[in-house]
Amino acid sequence: MAASARGSRETCGGAGLPRANGGAEAGPRAVGARRGEAVTAAAMEHITTPKVENVKLLDRYTNRKATNGTLYLTATHLIYVDASAEVRKETWILHHHIATVEKLPLTTAGCPLLIHCKNFHVAHFVIGQERDCHEVYTSLLKLSQPVKPEDLYAFSYNPKMSKDNREIGWKLIDLKVDYQRMGIPNDYWEITDANKDYEVCNTYPPEIVVPRAANKATVIGSSRFRSRGRIPVLSYLYKENNAAICRCSQPLSGFSARCLEDEQMLQAIREANPGSPFMYVVDTRPKLNAMANRAAGKGYENEDNYDNIRFKFIGIENIHVMRNSLQKLLEVCETKSPSMSDFLTGLENSGWLRHIKAVMDAGVFLAKAVKDEKASVLVHCSDGWDRTAQVCSLASLLLDPFYRTFKGFMVLIEKEWIAMGHKFSHRCGHLDGDPKEVSPVFTQFIECVWQLMQQFPCTFEFNERFLLEIHDHVYSCQFGNFLGTCHKEREDLKIFEKTHSLWPFLLQKKQEFRNPLYRGFTAYKELQPNTLPFSFQFWCGMYNRFDKGMHPKQCVLDHLLSCMSQKTKLEDNASELENKLPFLDGPLTTEACSLSKMGSGSSKTPMLNTPQDYEGEPAPVLTNGSMVWDINVMSDVDQKNKENLSKHQDLRDLKDTVGVLDSEAKDASAALISSEN
């Protein structure tokens, strides 16, 4: 079963990272060599101690005997091999995933090394010799945050793929096709190359969509009046009624400044939607923050200067508040044996779900304005690359089922986040840089999508694991997509020539990432989520993802995924048998008919309505055997073995759980001995 294969090794960094098969025949170093990775000299020179023996890995939630094993440092990963277990167990931590490394005070057991990862994995090692610990510590500090972009994993990652296939991979997502899908170019909107040399805005892509009515002078003029030249451009056009979602940065209005071209630009956007006499201008910041910006010559639109706009603040907090909120949330998640009160109070005090709700509310506001009020909306925050990206992409997701498919979701991230200059490199701390620039803006977006999945379980083509995998790779720097801060920088870094795109790799694992309950592309159109506070849940699968003891012990998703693959196998079997049986009796035939009818009814063809149908596997790009993640269709023999397997699985889980009963129950044996009063 897929689950037990996955469970037998904690591979951090998601299934997309290369892994050794079996592991037994090759040590971790050999794995890297076998993959043929160019181990960069820069990385290697940071590694003074490539191998440390007698290292313990403590489990935060159980009082099990700590494991004993060997820790390896490779150019890309920290690998811990558990020698005490009967089955070889490896823990891989990608250097880029490491958020912090701490050396804790020396104990009798040795020198503790605490590693916090950006994917919320927490690893607590105890290293026998303090000297070893210190060397690992200093190596990891350097390896986790390279100074130069060239040292990022993506530039050395080599999945042995031909140059052609790599290039095809980068072409998988074409934003122009998405604009075509919206019907652009049309009478009102056009794709302009006004920014082809980044003259208008160096953090925008070369091609942007603006109203046809806005001429070059308007565009240039408006760009001078917008923070960092980020002029209003189209994010999403709702074809049904011509209402558009546009995005930009704050105007340089100060207390009284105005700009004719900018006013013309907004007018052009409003008039591109003739059905509505007005448009919304939404500032996603809290009003106070926006007002403070006026003193610095920035600010927000004065309703008196723009015709027929309705101006509105939506108070989403800034990146610093969000960073601190996450920090508090993680402290709550890490608390040892908290009481229910501790946990709920901590959750409340972190403010995390309040912020998630604020982002969701804003997305819902946009979607409603467009769909129900038929009004166009212009959205901005300060620079228009954090809150604006969250809100615009959520609104698109709510309005258009295409973005809830595999392909659509990739397009959405490419369009609203990558192309429009969300500063992944800074927000994710890819390189050694200003820690105040780091913020979980994208994580919040991913969580909003997850919250939507909880409310609408049949509307997404993909499942929770797909979100987690993307989240992993935003930090992993294994693929080029999320490197740098904007399109221009990625060009300068030559990522299209030197690195691989993430998307084809994800598509290859579609079987694992699909949602078995998906009802197809046409089943649901716009989503109207409930945003009352009780509709938001704490996402244990993200923030306590590596604390398996806390998760449900039986996974419905795994069960249904195996049903899906079994279904395919059975359907094949049935048709094969039917072919062998030329003469069937009456009753069997009718049964067979009704069944096949049902089968075709429930088979999903979500891509048929989209311009690019790529239901088939994405070409030979990825026929590289080692990359393919097979979900084996359960054969009849497997079926028989399954019970034994799952028994084994449960026994192992059981061991995990007994210890997880909170402090009191966890210390049951201790309590049993000491409780006599």
């Binding site: 009481s339 849940q537 069960h559 359907e571 048998l577 429930s602 449960d650 059981l654 009963l661």
Partner: protein, 550 residues
């Protein structure tokens, strides 16, 4: 008929009904002795409301001019509103509902009037008899016997007529032990763990008082459950402090000097009004849609509901751990042994015994550990979250138990034969029902009420195949293992199916459930088809061979 006196206005036209997720309906309101009925004048009869008076927890009335509004809050937590034209009509209706929903005589309750419209295949009153349970036990071990000492409910009024006790203890000794235990609830067998022969017993507190009274027979009885040289654990569901205070009132706990082979562990589980207030606060928080996120989380926290869930589950895990892991026998009690004790013993069985995770097994568990064990349903479930009466004995003990089961079900979604709907159905029937199953406070009362003769059992209705299919869990795959739930706060959730049921639409979640059922059912049919085809092919091949041979 007395009901007629209570119904001054049996019928009002042009009443408008407002309820969650449905558009308002206008229709005719009728009151009968047991139901409030609203039927619209639409031809298709689609809009009808039948509400048991006994399901009504509280009502409020308001007037705007001559238009009256009655807000009805139900025990299943639903809130509906009736707009009634005419002040007099409205007042009459309100006072009738008030009177009919708080009838003080059990024999006036609906189950005594209900005539089943279905054919009874199996009499639920006879589905789960202690004798059958004992038969099962005696096929594994001969260390226990069935005692009829309580035949006339003369020894312990809240125990069933027959109980299972250690073979070596005779009825005379039992009588003495009964004198030493609160409300005479002497230790009886609750569960036998086949895997290692360890047992779980339950009782009430011993009456040690301040001067440390002891009872040799009591010591002998519980020691009889120990293997030579082995120790046992006593799980007291009160904190040590509370247990010590109980001595002043004649109660107490087992002194180690007199029970040297037993270790006592105190696990505090809250009782009575603390639980009732917790429920009231939780439901208030869920119903108030004006909360912002911080307020919601702090209200959820302040209700302490999930804290109670965690405490109960933790104690149950501990009991299960002692039995399965430590290989020790366990005695569970609190004060009376009718509330927290039963939560612990029944949940421990769900963890340990795969049988309890089947529908039949779970029903049997509810019968054994709740109904026969004397959980006072009538007192505890008289009112629900909207009650204004502050009766000290009302408490959502059974609902908390169901919530804990739901938490385990959520963590082991494939290990239960029943789905969440089954638990919700039991919650509803425990508070208001056409069936007699949950009437009365113990078997003694039920026998006096002649429920078996005069009312229909819930199980007679539920266990018919067409009804049962509604409650089956499509993911169920028999799992013979012990299932250990996680009690970390991150692993416990608000039971939306009960507490948010009337506050948010479940349309999309229901569709997901349907989709899951369709997928699994389709696979089953496919498998059957493939097997049929294989058989057919094999037959044809043998036919061919035979023809060739001939």
């Amino acid at each position: 008929m007395e009901f007629a006196e209570l119904i001054k206005t049996p019928r009002v036209d042009n009443v408008v009904l407002h309820r969650p997720f449905y558009p308002a309906v206008e229709g005719t309101l009728c009151l009968t002795g047991h139901h409030l009925i609203l039927s619209s004048r639409r031809q298709d009869d689609a809009e009808e409301l039948w509400l048991l008076h006994s399901n009504i927890d509280s009502i409020e009335k308001r007037f705007v001019g001559s238009l009256g509004t009655i807000i009805i809050k139900c025990k299943d937590l639903r809130i509906i509103q009736l707009d009634i034209p005419g002040m007099e009509e409205c007042l009459n209706i309100a006072s009738s509902i008030e009177a009919l929903s708080t009838l003080d005589s059990v024999t006036l309750m609906y189950p005594f009037f209900y005539r089943p419209m279905f054919e009874v295949v199996e009499d639920g009153w006879r589905s789960f008899l202690p004798e059958q349970e004992f038969e099962l036990l005696s096929s594994i071990t001969d260390e226990w016997r069935i005692s009829c000492i309580n035949k006339e409910f003369s020894v312990c009024p809240s125990y069933p007529p027959v109980v299972i006790v250690p073979k070596s203890i005779d009825d005379e000794a039992l009588r003495k032990v009964a004198m030493f235990r609160h409300s005479s609830r002497f230790p009886v067998l609750s569960y036998y763990h086949k895997k290692n022969g360890m047992v779980m017993m339950r009782s009430s507190q011993p009456l040690t008082g301040t001067n440390g009274r002891r009872c040799k027979e009591d010591e002998k009885l519980i020691n009889a459950t120990l293997r030579a040289g082995k120790r046992g654990y006593i799980i007291d569901t009160r904190s040590l402090n509370v247990a010590q205070q109980a001595r002043a009132k004649g109660g107490g706990f087992e002194q180690e000097a007199h029970y040297p082979q037993w270790r006592r562990i105190h696990k505090s589980i809250e009782r009575f009004n603390i639980l009732q207030e917790s429920l009231i606060k939780l439901v208030e928080a869920c119903n108030d849609q004006s909360h912002n996120m911080d307020r919601w989380l702090s209200k959820l926290e302040a209700s302490n509901w999930l804290t109670h869930v965690k405490e109960i589950l933790t104690a149950a895990c501990l009991a299960a751990q002692c039995i399965d892991r430590e290989g020790a026998s366990v005695l569970v009690h609190g004060t009376e042994g009718t509330d927290s004790t039963l939560q612990v013993t029944s949940l421990a069985q769900i963890i340990l015994d795969p049988r309890c995770r089947t529908i039949r097994g779970f029903e049997s568990l509810v019968v054994r550990e709740w109904l026969q064990a004397g959980h006072p349903f009538q007192q505890r479930c008289a009112q629900s979250a909207y009650s204004n009466s502050k009766q000290k004995w009302e408490a959502p003990v059974f609902l908390l138990f169901l919530d804990c089961v739901w938490q385990i079900l959520r963590q082991f979604p494939c290990s239960f034969e029943f789905s969440e709907h089954f638990l919700i159905m039991l919650f509803e029937h425990a508070y208001a029902s056409q069936f007699g199953t949950f009437l009365g406070n113990n078997e003694n009362e039920r026998s006096k009420l002649k429920l078996q003769q005069k009312t229909m059992s819930l199980w007679s209705w539920v266990n018919r195949p067409q009804e049962l299919s509604k409650y089956k869990n499509p993911l169920f795959e028999a799992n013979s293992l012990v299932i250990w739930p996680s009690v970390a706060p991150q692993s416990l959730q608000l039971w939306e199916g009960v507490f948010l049921r009337w506050n948010r639409s479940s349309k999309f979640l229901d569709e997901a459930y349907e989709e899951m059922v369709t997928l699994i059912e389709y696979n089953k049919q496919l498998k059957a088809k493939v097997n049929a085809l294989r058989r057919k092919l094999a037959e044809l091949e043998t036919d061919d061979q035979m023809q060739e041979n001939a």
